[in-house]
C-alpha cells in the first residue's frame, strides 16, 4: 500500500492559477476573509471544488428554495442529508434521488454513465437504505436518418449512436453487476443534445424509520474511518469540471474520467448496511464529487464540529500523491464513517470480512476546523461550516425568451404513413433495445416490467408496492419552460395513476445551459417555478435532486430539461394496472377531451421538422380529477388497461396499446370517433394533456362510463379491442394498420439504428 504523501513546493498562487480553478476575484477575497490569510495551493483547490456549482449550488440555491419540501410523509427533508426520506407506512420509508453525469458521459460514455449509477447508489445506502431499484433518463442527439449521398451515415449521427450505446451499456454494466434492477426510465433524441448528452440516473432504497443514518460528524473524540477503494488520481477536480462548459480542450481533460468498480461497490454496500445494523456508527457520508474534501467538511458542518484527518493514513492506489491530489481525487466506491469511540473493532471486523480497505484516518474535534495533515505537517486548515455553507450565492440576471407564436395552420399528411413514421421515431419507438440490456428482474420485485407507463415494484421486506416513472418533454420546455415543467409533473403523476398508484414524492434533475446567459437562467427559473406549481398541485414534496448547468456544446445550450422522477404507492396488488390492450371484446374509453393542441407536438417535429407553436397547457384541477376518477375505476376492478396520451397523441397511444404487450401477440382494435369536426391530423396527433385511454370488459362498460360521468370526468366510448388490425374512423374517413406490421416498425426501430454501420 502506498502511504507516504508527497509534499512538493506548491505553485505560487497567481491570478491565473485562481482563474484556472474557476474562482472569481470576489470569491478569492471571500476566501481570504474566511481564512484571515492567503490560502495555500491545497486550500485553493478545496475551495474551488466546494464552491463549484456542482457542490454549492451557488447559482441555483435561491431557485431551489421555491420547491415544496415538507409534508406529513417527509421524514428527512431535501438538502438536510444525501437524500430525502419519505414515509410509506408501517414503520417503513423510502429514500430516493436523481443525479446527473452528463459531462463525464460526453467524454467517456461507458464509464461516465457507470460511475453516475455508482454515485447515486452510494447516496442512497449512505442514508441507511437498501437500494432496491434504479431508473434512468437519457437524452442524445439524433441516431436515425441523416445519410449522405454515398449512403454513409453522417459522422454526428455515428457519434450519437456511439454515445447512446456506450451510456446504455455503462448503466447496464454497473447496475447489473451490483444487482440492483433498472426497471424504468426514458430516452429522447433531439438535435439540442448533440455533443452534450444528458444522463440522469435515479435510485430508490427502502429502510425502517429507525435505520435512517445521518451524515454528521458528531461526538467529540470519535474516530473518523475511511473505507472502500484506495484513492488514486481519478477524476481530479471532476466537480469543478462538471461546472464548466464542454469545450474542445475539455475533451482533452483526461483525468476527468473515472473508472467505476461495481464489484467493489457491491461489497461496500453490503459491508456498510451490515455495519449500520450495529450501533457503531455516529455518522456516515459517501465520497462523491470532491471526494474526501466534501465528505469531511460536510460531516463536520452538519455536526457543528471539526474534523482532523491525516493523509498519510489514507489508503492510496498510487505512489507520490500530493495533498492536493488526495483531497480532490474522485476515486469511486469510498465512504467516510464517523465511528462511536470504542466501537472501532466492529468496523474493522466487518470490512475485513468483506475484504475492503479501511483505515482510521482522523478524529472529530470541537474547534470547528477542517484540519488536513500529512503526518505532523498541517497542509490545510479551514473553518468547516464556512467552507461547506458559506459559498457565495448569486442572483443571476434573467432575460425572458420570446413567447412562442401560435401555429397558423397544421400541415396535412398521409395519416397511415404518418403514424408509422411517428412510431418509428426513436423517441417514441419501443425502448426494448435499452431495457433488455438492463437486469430489471433481480430482487424479485418488478411486477410490471419496463414497457408500461410506470414501473411497478414489490418491496417484499416492507409488504408495499411502489410505482415509479421519470418524465420530461423538453421540446415543450424549450417553447415554454414554465408550462413544459408543469406538464412534466402532470405526466409523471398521470403515468403513476395509469398503473394504479397515488403519487408520494418527487425528485428532480435540472439540466440547463450556462447560467451566466440571462435567457438560460430565465429558463431555469421558469422551469423551477413550473415544477413547484406542479408539485403543489399534486401535494407531492420534492425529496431532493440535482442541478446540472453548463450543458452546452459548441452549437449552444441544450433544451431546458427539468427531469421529473416521481414515486407512488399502490394500495393493493389487485390495483396494479398495465397499459397494453388485453382481450378481444374489451371496450375502449377515452377519459378526457379529444384535445386540439399541436404546438411542440411530435407530429410537427418528426413529420415536418418543425419545433414550434404553443405547447399544450395543463389544467391541474382537471388533471387531478382525471387521476382520481381513473384510480376510482381501478379500485372498483373495472380497468383492464390504462395508457396516457403523450408524444404522438391519441393515435400513438392507441397503436402502443395494440403492440406494447407480448411482442408475438399483438391485438387489434376498431375505433370510431364519429363526427368531431376536427382536422384529422389534429384529432389523431394533438398532444393536449389530461387524457387517458382505458379498456373495460364489455359487461363492465356501462358501469365504468356511468361512474366517470357521475364524477364529472369527460368520458367517451371510442371502440372495442379485437382483430389483427388497428382501424380508426372519424368524420367519414377510415384508416387502417396491421398491428403486426406496426409492431415491427415500432419494436425494431432503435435496434435497426444501432446495428447499422
Amino acid at each position: 500500500m502506498n502511504t507516504a504523501v508527497y509534499l512538493p513546493k506548491d505553485p505560487e498562487i497567481t491570478p491565473e492559477v485562481i482563474a484556472k480553478h474557476g474562482i472569481t476575484p470576489d470569491e478569492y477575497e471571500r476566501i481570504k476573509s474566511i481564512l484571515g490569510r492567503e490560502p495555500n495551493f491545497t486550500e485553493l483547490g478545496i475551495f474551488s471544488v466546494m464552491w463549484s456549482e456542482h457542490c454549492s449550488y451557488k447559482n441555483s440555491k435561491p431557485e431551489l428554495r421555491k420547491f415544496p419540501t415538507t409534508g406529513p410523509t417527509v421524514l428527512v427533508k431535501a438538502g438536510e442529508e444525501n437524500a430525502g426520506v419519505i414515509d410509506i407506512g408501517d414503520g417503513w420509508g423510502v429514500a430516493f434521488k436523481m443525479e446527473s453525469h452528463n459531462h463525464p458521459s460526453a467524454i467517456e460514455p461507458f464509464q461516465g454513465a457507470a460511475t453516475g449509477v455508482g454515485g447515486i447508489i452510494r447516496d442512497i445506502f449512505t442514508m441507511g437504505a437498501r437500494p432496491v431499484f434504479n431508473l434512468n433518463s437519457l437524452r442524445f442527439g439524433p441516431i436515425s436518418g441523416k445519410t449522405d449521398e454515398k449512403g454513409e451515415v453522417a459522422p454526428n449521427v455515428k457519434h450519437n449512436r456511439r454515445l447512446f450505446g456506450g451510456v446504455v451499456s455503462g448503466i447496464a454494466h454497473y447496475g447489473n453487476c451490483i444487482g440492483i434492477p433498472t426497471i424504468g426510465g426514458e430516452v429522447y433524441f433531439d438535435e439540442s443534445y448533440e455533443g452534450n448528452p444528458l444522463v440522469n440516473v435515479f435510485c430508490l432504497g427502502v429502510l425502517k424509520h429507525e435505520q435512517i443514518a445521518r451524515g454528521a460528524a458528531s461526538g467529540i473524540g470519535n474516530p473518523v474511518f475511511y473505507v472502500g477503494a484506495e484513492t488514486g488520481r481519478d477524476g481530479l477536480a471532476g466537480a469543478a469540471f462538471a461546472s464548466r462548459e464542454l469545450t474542445e480542450e475539455s475533451k482533452q481533460d483526461r483525468p476527468a474520467v473515472q473508472v467505476g468498480d461495481p464489484f467493489k461497490e457491491k461489497l461496500l454496500l453490503e459491508a456498510c448496511l451490515e455495519l449500520l445494523a450495529t450501533d457503531a456508527v455516529a455518522g456516515i457520508q459517501d465520497m462523491g464529487a470532491a471526494g474526501l474534501t466534501c465528505s469531511t467538511c460536510e460531516t463536520a458542518s452538519r455536526g457543528g464540529t471539526g474534523v482532523e484527518i491525516d493523509l498519510e493514513k489514507v489508503p492510496k492506489r498510487e505512489a507520490g500523491m500530493t495533498p492536493y491530489e488526495i483531497m480532490l481525487s474522485e476515486s469511486q466506491e469510498r465512504m467516510l464513517i464517523i465511528v462511536k469511540k470504542g466501537k472501532e473493532q466492529i468496523v474493522r471486523d466487518i470490512f475485513e470480512k468483506w475484504d475492503l480497505p479501511h483505515a482510521e484516518v482522523g478524529v472529530v474535534n470541537d474547534d470547528g476546523m477542517m484540519r488536513v495533515k500529512a503526518g505532523d505537517v498541517v497542509v490545510a486548515e479551514i473553518p468547516a461550516s464556512k467552507l461547506a455553507d458559506d459559498a457565495p450565492i448569486y442572483h443571476r440576471e434573467v432575460a425572458p425568451r420570446p413567447a412562442p407564436t401560435p401555429l397558423s395552420c397544421i400541415p396535412a399528411t398521409d395519416i397511415e404513413a404518418g403514424l408509422e413514421k411517428l412510431l418509428a421515431d426513436p423517441s417514441i419507438a419501443s425502448k426494448q433495445w435499452v431495457y433488455r440490456q438492463y437486469d430489471h428482474m433481480v430482487r424479485l420485485g418488478a411486477t410490471v416490467l419496463p414497457g408500461s407507463d410506470s414501473a411497478v415494484f414489490i418491496v417484499r421486506e416492507a409488504g408495499k408496492i411502489l410505482a415509479a416513472t421519470s418524465d420530461c418533454n423538453s421540446t415543450y420546455c424549450a417553447l415554454d419552460p414554465r408550462e413544459g415543467a408543469r406538464v412534466a409533473v402532470a405526466e409523471a403523476a398521470r403515468n403513476l395513476a395509469c398503473s394504479g398508484a397515488v403519487p408520494l414524492a418527487v425528485t428532480d434533475n435540472l439540466n440547463f445551459g450556462n447560467p451566466h446567459k440571462p435567457d438560460n437562467f430565465w429558463q431555469l427559473r421558469e422551469c423551477v417555478e413550473g415544477l413547484a406549481e406542479g408539485c403543489n398541485a399534486f401535494d407531492v414534496p420534492v425529496t431532493g435532486g440535482n442541478v446540472s448547468l453548463y450543458n452546452e456544446s459548441p452549437a449552444g445550450a441544450v433544451d431546458p430539461t427539468p427531469t421529473v422522477g416521481m414515486v407512488g404507492l399502490i394500495e393493493d396488488p389487485k390495483h396494479v394496472t398495465t397499459s397494453h390492450f388485453k382481450d378481444s371484446g374489451d371496450v375502449i374509453f377515452l377519459l378526457g377531451d379529444l384535445g386540439s393542441e399541436m404546438g411542440g407536438s411530435h407530429y410537427l417535429k418528426v413529420l415536418h421538422g418543425r419545433k414550434e407553436g404553443v405547447p399544450p397547457k395543463v389544467d391541474f384541477v382537471q388533471e387531478r380529477a382525471l387521476h382520481d376518477t381513473l384510480r376510482a375505476l381501478i379500485k372498483m376492478g373495472l380497468v383492464k388497461s390504462a395508457h396516457d396520451c403523450s408524444e404522438g397523441g391519441l393515435a400513438a397511444a392507441l397503436a402502443e396499446n395494440c403492440i406494447s404487450g407480448d411482442k408475438a401477440k399483438t391485438v387489434g382494435a376498431k375505433v370510431d370517433f364519429g363526427v368531431t369536426g376536427l382536422q384529422a391530423e389534429v384529432l389523431l396527433f394533438n398532444e393536449s394533456q389530461s387524457r387517458v385511454v382505458i379498456t373495460v370488459s364489455a359487461n363492465n362498460a356501462a358501469a365504468a362510463e356511468a361512474l366517470a360521468q357521475w364524477r364529472g370526468t369527460p368520458v367517451r366510448r371510442i371502440g372495442t379491442v379485437g382483430g389483427s388490425d388497428l382501424r380508426i374512423e372519424a368524420d367519414g374517413s377510415v384508416w387502417n394498420w396491421n398491428t403486426a406490421a406496426l409492431q415491427g416498425v415500432w419494436g425494431s426501430s432503435i435496434a435497426n439504428c444501432m446495428s447499422a454501420q
Binding site: C177, R436, M441
Partner: protein, 234 residues
C-alpha cells in the same frame, strides 16, 4: 431437509434464491459464506447468480478458487444435489464440475427477458416432475451465456441425456431463431453424468410467483424436493 445458498463476493441472486426456497417452498435455507469450508448437513446446495468477483477475467474463474469450493466439490462427488444458476453455472464449468464453458452472447449484449425453454430430459432429480417436451417460461439475464464445448463433449452430453433445457420458441420449436445467445445446440442447461449437478443460465427463482409473471420455475424446485422425498410446501 436443509438447503445452502453459497455467497461469493459479488453474488447478487443469493437473496432471491433464499427467498424462493424458504418463503415459496418452506425449505429451511442458510447462506454459506465463501470463506467457509464445510457443507455438512445440507441436502441441497445452490450456487446463485450474480457477478462473483466482478466476473473479472472470466465469469466464475476466480470464484472457483474460493475456500468453499473444495467443500462444494467434495459434496458433489459424494452425490449431493448441486444446482448452479447463471453465474453459478459459470462457476460449475470453470471448476470442471460440468463440461464446456459459457462465453460472450453472440449479440455482445447483456440480455434480460423471459424465454421459453424446452424440457429435454426428465430422468434426473431436477426435472422429474416436468414433462419431456414441456415448454417452461423462465427469465434469462446474462451477458455471457453462450454455451460451448467440443464436438465429442456435445455428442456425449446429448447421448447421455445430460442436456436438460434448450432455448425454443413459444411452441417448443428449437431453432437458431429461438437461440438468444448463440449457445451450441440451443443449450440452456445441462447436468453431469451422475445427474446430481445441474447448471442452467435461466433463473427459475425468478419464476415462482404469479406476481412475477411466471410460475414455470417452480417445477424445478418441486422436482428437487420430490427427489429428496420432501413434499413441496407450495
Amino acid at each position: 431437509m436443509k438447503a445452502a445458498v453459497i455467497r461469493f463476493p459479488g453474488s447478487n441472486c443469493d437473496q432471491d434464491c433464499h427467498y424462493a426456497l424458504q418463503n415459496v417452498f418452506g425449505v429451511p435455507t442458510d447462506y454459506v459464506w465463501h470463506k467457509e469450508t464445510s457443507l455438512s448437513g445440507y441436502d441441497l446446495v445452490v450456487l446463485p447468480g450474480g457477478f462473483s468477483y466482478g466476473d473479472y477475467l472470466r465469469c466464475g474463474a476466480i470464484a472457483r478458487f474460493s475456500p468453499i469450493m473444495k467443500a462444494v466439490t467434495d459434496y458433489a462427488q459424494n452425490g449431493g444435489l448441486l444446482i448452479g444458476i447463471c453465474n453459478g453455472f459459470q462457476v460449475l464449468t470453470e471448476s470442471r464440475l460440468l463440461p464446456g464453458a459459457l462465453v460472450r452472447n453472440r449479440s455482445l449484449h447483456f440480455i434480460c427477458e423471459n424465454r421459453p425453454l424446452r424440457v429435454e430430459a426428465v430422468n434426473n432429480p431436477f426435472l422429474s416432475q416436468a414433462l419431456s417436451g414441456q415448454v417452461l417460461n423462465i427469465p434469462i439475464a446474462h451477458g455471457e451465456g453462450s454455451y460451448t464445448a467440443d464436438e465429442a463433449t456435445l455428442k456425449e452430453l446429448i447421448s447421455n441425456q445430460q442436456v436438460l433445457l434448450r432455448y425454443c420458441d413459444a411452441n417448443g420449436f428449437v431453432s437458431d431463431a429461438s437461440n438468444p445467445n448463440g449457445s451450441a445446440d440451443n443449450i440452456a442447461g445441462i447436468c453431469n453424468a451422475a445427474r446430481n449437478v445441474f447448471g442452467l443460465m435461466p433463473h427459475p427463482e425468478r419464476a415462482c410467483e404469479k406476481a412475477l409473471g411466471s410460475t414455470d420455475g417452480k417445477v424445478i424446485f418441486e422436482s428437487i424436493l420430490n427427489s429428496l422425498g420432501v413434499r413441496a410446501a407450495a
